[in-house]
């Protein structure tokens, strides 16, 4: 008896707790994140129905049997099998089709977009802006000096790099496309900002583009989301989204 009720309890508890889910998610700060929230909601409704349905059915099966009612039972039914196989196929593949929209877009250079380089290493973040000339200067490992203030290894001999701005926080203009170019100098890291609802592994040896566009000003935390060593949980930085005039002012001032 109690085992049947147990399954009902699971269904109920699960449903209640999931109804509370908006409380857990951080604010969505760009249009992609809003789209994510919608997609998540659809999947949650589908899986929620299946979750509750399966548990109610399971509980009912147990209770029914224990009451010793010799009700109908089925040993095999081709109709039922075809029905539930095709229903799940349509449902799951439909979800998949929904989820794949918008995924296979390789970021391209849109005119007027900000390009910012992101440098991850054990265990800190650095961000580089190209400066007024819009060109990133050359870098090389042999110039890297964390204590000497050159964490990304800017070549002092390269004039394009003289106006490059290296910052410990990522500042971006609100409402404009930003193309992040992700680099790692040692192991695999991952650039993760919860409010953007996306993350991207940073693989050493590759330059990986990530397009973002923040619609709300504010400060958002950047975390590393790929195990990178003993300081993995300490790689903290901030994404600071500022209105464009403030942003331009900040760039000029540094």
């Amino acid at each position: 008896m109690s085992s049947g009720l147990l399954f009902f309890a699971v269904a109920l508890a699960g449903a209640l707790l999931f109804a509370l889910r908006p409380a857990w998610f951080p604010l969505a700060i760009d249009s992609a994140a809003h789209a994510w929230d919608r997609e998540f909601a659809i999947t949650l409704i589908v899986t929620g129905i299946i979750f509750i349905g399966a548990h109610v059915l399971l509980g009912w099966t147990v209770l029914r049997a224990r009451c010793k009612k010799s009700g109908a039972s089925v040993n095999s039914s081709l109709h039922l099998e075809i029905l539930w196989t095709s229903a799940t196929a349509v449902l799951f593949l439909g979800l998949s089709a929904l989820g794949s929209r918008g995924w296979a877009r390789i970021p391209e250079k849109t005119p007027g977009e900000e390009r910012i380089e992101v440098y991850a290493r054990q265990f800190a973040w650095h961000f580089r802006y190209p400066g007024p000339d819009g060109i990133f200067g050359r870098t090389d490992n042999k110039f890297v000096s964390d204590s000497g203030g050159n964490p990304i290894g800017l070549d002092p001999a390269d004039p394009d790099g003289h106006d490059d701005l290296v910052s410990a926080t990522l500042r971006v203009p609100v409402g404009r496309n930003v193309l992040l170019l992700l680099h790692s100098r040692d192991v695999i890291h991952d650039f993760f900002v919860r409010e953007l609802r996306t993350k991207q592994d940073i693989v050493p040896g590759m330059e990986i583009p990530l397009e973002i566009r923040v619609d709300r000003p504010g400060q958002y935390e950047i975390a590393c989301a790929e195990l990178c060593g003993l300081g993995h949980s300490q790689m903290h930085s901030l994404l600071i989204a500022m209105p464009p005039p403030e942003y331009e002012q900040w760039k000029r001032a540094h």
């Binding site: 399966a54 049997a65 040993n75 099998e81 539930w84 100098r185 989301a225 060593g229 949980s233």
Partner: protein, 580 residues
């Protein structure tokens, strides 16, 4: 000295009894050896996880005996992040390999497979014995890796390069510890290969007369497809381990690109691809999780059928579903790599295939419920665990539908949402399958005794409740974007409000672990003093319960609904003698 005639010419002295017992080629004895090995492994793995959970909620706590155990990595009695990460690595490795691969496949397969097929024994008994001892050696080397000078490896059970490939410079424990870890894994691959050869040859060639493939019990089917999965996936892991050991020790650059600066050391490798490791690893890694769950599914089918006194609903459907799950499991590995930097178009292909696995899984779930529907229940502990399996499998499997969509996965990847998903499915569902098998086949494992049912039921209810209480809330930590493999949460503002949730999880985990003591008490008491079972205590139809050793004349699961004592017919029971 006894001799035993091997041929008319050669006489070999027979080894002493103790040697024969220890190096036994007898499959029930080997099954017991594997059973106790995975029991030791699970205790070890659980203790590691409790240490991890403790640290997560008390990152700065000073614990005297930490320092005694780990003088370098827990200096002052405070667990360092590198110690946490090495505990985490060991936890994953021990649980996935030495519990979830060994217990369902090796322990119970060895116990029951030949008997269920009506075979005299396995095809290669000595290979079987060798497989156990290689596994034990592998376990020993794994422990050694953990106790090496600078500590155990901290790269996780996934061991992604370059972190795991460039040596000690990338972290404490990444020197000798990581190398020994790779050696242990290579040995485990070899042992698994021997097991899979044995299982496949036995199933293909040694079935009793009349045991057609479509009359095999579903447990044999799941062991069959599991053995094939092992055959196809473990060699790939072995190849990857050879390549990475070559990078570590031989100076090659299969996985290490050029221009790395780790710490302040320029790494001399060049031209390799870290993604290559991920492809090879996950080509193994995804089938591995199906290896962990498929035998449990077979056991659940058998147990649900037996204790509902009804045939399995759509035996054929179950067979096709098992084969589909295994086949699809081989082509979906990319879903572990959606955010890794793979081609987005291949990500879509992997996504569609991954979501498709939900279809045979759902078919199985419906079939289980339909099997139980309208049955005359006997709610034994094994039956409770089988029903519990269905519940946890549904819960854990549904979160997979989120993770199988690349855009949604982009948020949840490497967060506690994934941790919830795999713990519910592997840590709980697969474990419930193992518990069900233990209660069901205990008389075959330990000389005809039965486990105590009262203790068993108490164990089930408490485990069910506290397993959900521990792992379900992890979904919510995932919603909040809580990254996984974090030694502590002190560096991030957004993690502070989650601490009460983590304290709940930790305390629930303590209780969940403590509750397992009921099972251990039951186990060790019943081995000695358990109630003696009758010949076929569960009134089952499959051959492991039969003394007849005759020809197989019907399918498994021939239960009838007429009630009374004889409501079943065994597979090898001649028609004339049957009463209905």
């Amino acid at each position: 000295m006894e001799t035993r005639a091997l041929s008319r010419r050669m006489r070999v002295p027979r080894p002493r009894a103790i040697v024969r017992a220890v190096f036994s080629t007898d499959h029930p004895a080997i099954a017991r050896q594997y059973f106790f090995l995975s029991l030791a492994a699970v205790v070890f793995g659980v203790l590691l996880s409790l240490l991890m959970r403790f640290h997560v909620v008390h990152p700065t706590a000073q614990v005297g005996w930490f320092e005694r155990l780990w003088p370098v990595k827990a200096i002052g009695g405070v667990m360092t992040p590198e110690l946490y990460l090495s505990l985490l690595t060991l936890h994953g490795t021990v649980m996935i390999f030495f519990v979830l691969t060994l217990a369902p496949v090796n322990a119970f397969g060895n116990l029951v497979l030949p008997a269920q097929l009506g075979a005299e024994g396995f095809a290669f008994p000595r290979l079987n014995m060798a497989s156990f001892w290689i596994t034990l050696l592998s376990f020993g080397i794994l422990i050694a890796s953990f106790t090496a000078a600078e500590g155990g490896p901290l790269a996780g059970w996934t061991a992604y390069p370059p972190l795991s490939a460039v040596g000690a410079i990338s972290g404490p424990g990444e020197g000798l510890g990581q190398t020994l870890w790779f050696v242990s894994i290579a040995l485990f691959c070899a042992a698994s290969l021997l097991t899979s050869i044995n299982f496949i040859a036995t199933i293909v060639d040694m079935r009793a007369p009349g045991m057609m493939l479509m009359r095999m019990p579903l447990t044999c089917w799941t062991w069959f497809v599991t053995a094939i999965l092992m055959l196809l996936s473990f060699p790939v892991l072995m190849a990857a381990v050879i390549l990475i050991l070559s990078d570590r020790l031989g100076g090659s650059s299969f996985f290490v690109p050029a221009g790395l600066l780790v710490g302040d050391l320029d790494i001399p490798h060049s031209g390799g691809s870290p993604l290559l490791w991920q492809h090879l690893f996950w080509f193994f890694g995804h089938p591995e999780v199906y290896i962990a769950i498929l035998p449990g599914m077979g056991i659940v089918s058998a147990v649900l059928s037996n204790f509902s006194r009804k045939p399995v609903f759509s035996y054929r459907g179950m067979v096709y579903a098992s084969v589909s799950i295994a086949f699809l499991g081989l082509v979906v590995w990319g879903h572990h790599m959606f955010t890794s930097g793979i081609n987005p178009y291949s990500a879509i292909a992997f996504s569609v295939l991954s979501m498709s696995i939900g279809v045979p899984s759902a078919v199985k779930t419906f079939n289980w419920i339909a099997t139980a529907w309208g049955g005359t229940f006997e709610l034994t502990t094994a039956m409770l665990f089988a029903l519990g399996f269905v519940s946890v499998f549904v819960t854990g499997g549904l979160s997979g539908l989120f993770l199988g969509q690349p855009t949604i996965d982009a948020y949840f990847h490497d967060t506690y949402f994934v941790v919830a998903h795999f713990h519910l499915i592997m840590g709980i569902a697969a474990l419930f399958g193992i518990f069900a098998a233990t209660f069901y086949w205990f008389p075959l494992l330990f000389s005809g005794r039965m486990l105590n049912e009262t203790l068993g039921k108490a164990h089930f209810y408490l485990t069910f409740v506290f397993a959900y209480a521990t792992f379900f809330p992890m979904h919510f930590a995932g919603f909040a974007g809580n990254p996984r493999r974090y030694a502590d949460f002190t560096s991030f503002d957004f993690l502070q409000p989650l601490l009460p949730l983590h304290r709940w999880i930790t305390h629930s985990a303590y209780v969940l672990a403590a509750v397992q003591l009921i099972f251990f008490w039951n186990l060790f008491w019943s081995i000695r003093r358990g109630r003696q079972a009758s010949e076929n205590p569960w009134r089952a139809t499959t051959l492991e319960w039969s003394r007849r050793r005759g020809i197989v004349v019907r399918g498994p699961y021939e239960y009838r609904q007429k009630g009374g004592e004889r409501d079943y017919i065994m597979q090898d029971e001649p028609d004339a003698g049957a009463t209905v």
